[in-house]
């Protein structure tokens, strides 16, 4: 949003706040109030932002997928009970207390949505992208999943059955995508680099060694 510099430069009494948009001023006021009341601490707010902006993200889920692709026993544990299997890799916590991992196969595809709000598996995927929380996706994923996937550039064969998982409780869903062909010689870390966020939501497929270039 454009800053409103021009109108206020000549007014000394506005000099401090004049560059704030209305919502920036509103949030700043709320934060000041809550700090003053002692309900929140500034360093804790900074630490929360830092954690979700830099440390928790889809790179975590990618490690889970790559392990499942390379370790059949791990894949079985992951599909049978997601939360403890994900915890084996040191991943878990808020927004992922009750994980369910669903597997794509040659003729079935899974797609995750939260039609009622924005439920999303934070520990493995981070905070959700805007489109996941916005009305177009929430409205249409359950009614017209094939049309939604086409908007992501993903066209599935007609014979592929799509299951849509609506995240209506504290169970959180992650898709285990199909391992791309031609990746037999890749290491677990190299495989993890092929796993995209969208492939774990179901709105995309993993990269291949060719598309990853």
């Amino acid at each position: 949003m454009a800053h409103d510099h021009d109108h206020h430069h000549d007014h000394p009494d506005h000099a401090h706040g004049s560059s704030l948009t209305p919502i920036e001023a509103r949030v700043r006021a709320l934060e000041s109030l809550l700090l003053e009341k002692g309900y929140v601490q500034a360093d804790a707010l900074d630490a929360l932002v830092e954690m979700y902006e830099t440390r928790i993200g889809p790179h975590n889920g990618a490690r889970v997928v790559a392990r499942a692709w390379t370790d059949p026993a791990y894949r079985e544990r992951l599909l049978a009970d997601g939360t403890p299997a994900i915890a084996e890799l040191g991943i878990g916590g808020r927004g992922g207390e009750h994980m369910v991992v669903v597997e794509n196969t040659a003729d079935s595809h899974n797609l995750v949505v939260c039609t009622l709000c924005s439920c999303y598996p934070w520990p493995v995927l981070g905070l959700p992208p805007v489109w996941y929380k916005a009305p177009p996706y929430r409205a249409r994923a359950v009614l017209d999943p094939r049309g939604v996937l086409a908007e992501f550039g993903l066209t599935l064969p007609e014979a592929t059955r799509i299951t849509v998982w609506d995240s209506t409780a504290e169970t959180r869903f992650m898709v285990l995508p199909l391992r791309p062909a031609g990746t037999e010689s890749l290491s677990e870390a190299e495989l993890a680099a092929l796993v995209t966020r969208d492939s774990m939501i179901g709105t995309g497929q993993p990269l291949t060694p060719e598309t990853a270039q």
Binding site: E31, L33, H98, V130
Partner: protein, 222 residues
């Protein structure tokens, strides 16, 4: 409640607009709203379900025209006032005009990593056996509660099948209001897309929801 949040199956919202290389936050104020909502939530003054209820209680026109973090901000301000943490006047002024209310706890930076990686599980020991078993047919209740609930309209009054049993969980309908209620069994219920959407369904498609036992009635095999 049948609010603007219950979007499944709605038409007219246009195409999905993925953003390439999307940042986690789009501006500094979004970072602050996110952190404030989590940190004030941690005081234990309300529940996560209470926050969801506050967000979906925004007037539909406001809900649908606001951005995601604008919705969070409006709901947070409303909850702060409703629960007596501050007054509307104090929020408008951005300054305290009286003593703080006592809260259960205040989030400290050093406890974030252990506390957030442990998470806040919402499963509870069941106080009764599960009524349904995997593969049982069920019928979802056609109910329209005015308070918070987690059965979307598009699956109400529909025939489905129990696919998974997740255990007993805190019931959001009660938790949103801090009302005591026994934990309820939570199931994955699967529906054929045709049961939900008729001729408009994706051929061969299926939709599942996570449904609490109280949302369900015994069904008849399809």
């Amino acid at each position: 409640m049948n609010g603007a949040q219950d979007l499944g199956g709605a038409h007219g919202f246009g195409t999905v607009m993925p953003e390439a290389n999307e940042p986690v936050f789009h501006s500094e104020w979004e970072r602050r709203v996110f952190a404030l909502a989590l940190a004030v939530g941690y005081t234990g003054t309300w529940t996560l379900d209470g926050s969801r209820a506050a967000r979906e209680s925004l007037p539909p026109a406001e809900y649908l025209s606001a951005s995601y973090y604008e919705i969070w901000l409006a709901a947070l301000e409303a909850q702060i006032v409703a629960h007596g943490l501050a007054t509307q006047e104090e929020i408008a002024a951005g300054a305290s005009a009286g003593p703080a209310s006592p809260v259960k706890r205040v989030l400290r930076a050093e406890e974030i990593p252990p506390r957030f990686s442990a998470g806040f599980p919402s499963d509870r020991p069941p106080d009764a056996p599960a009524l349904y078993a995997v593969r049982d047919p069920v019928l979802t209740r056609n109910d329209h509660p005015i308070g918070h609930t987690r059965l979307p309209r598009y699956v109400r009054g529909r025939r489905g099948v129990i696919e998974r049993i997740h255990g007993a969980f805190v019931l959001p309908d009660a938790s949103a209001e801090r009302r005591d209620a026994p934990p309820q069994w939570l199931y994955t219920v699967g529906f054929e897309a045709t049961e939900l959407w008729g001729a408009s369904a994706d051929p061969g498609g299926r939709v599942t929801v996570a449904a609490f036992e109280g949302y369900l009635l015994p069904g008849t095999p399809q």
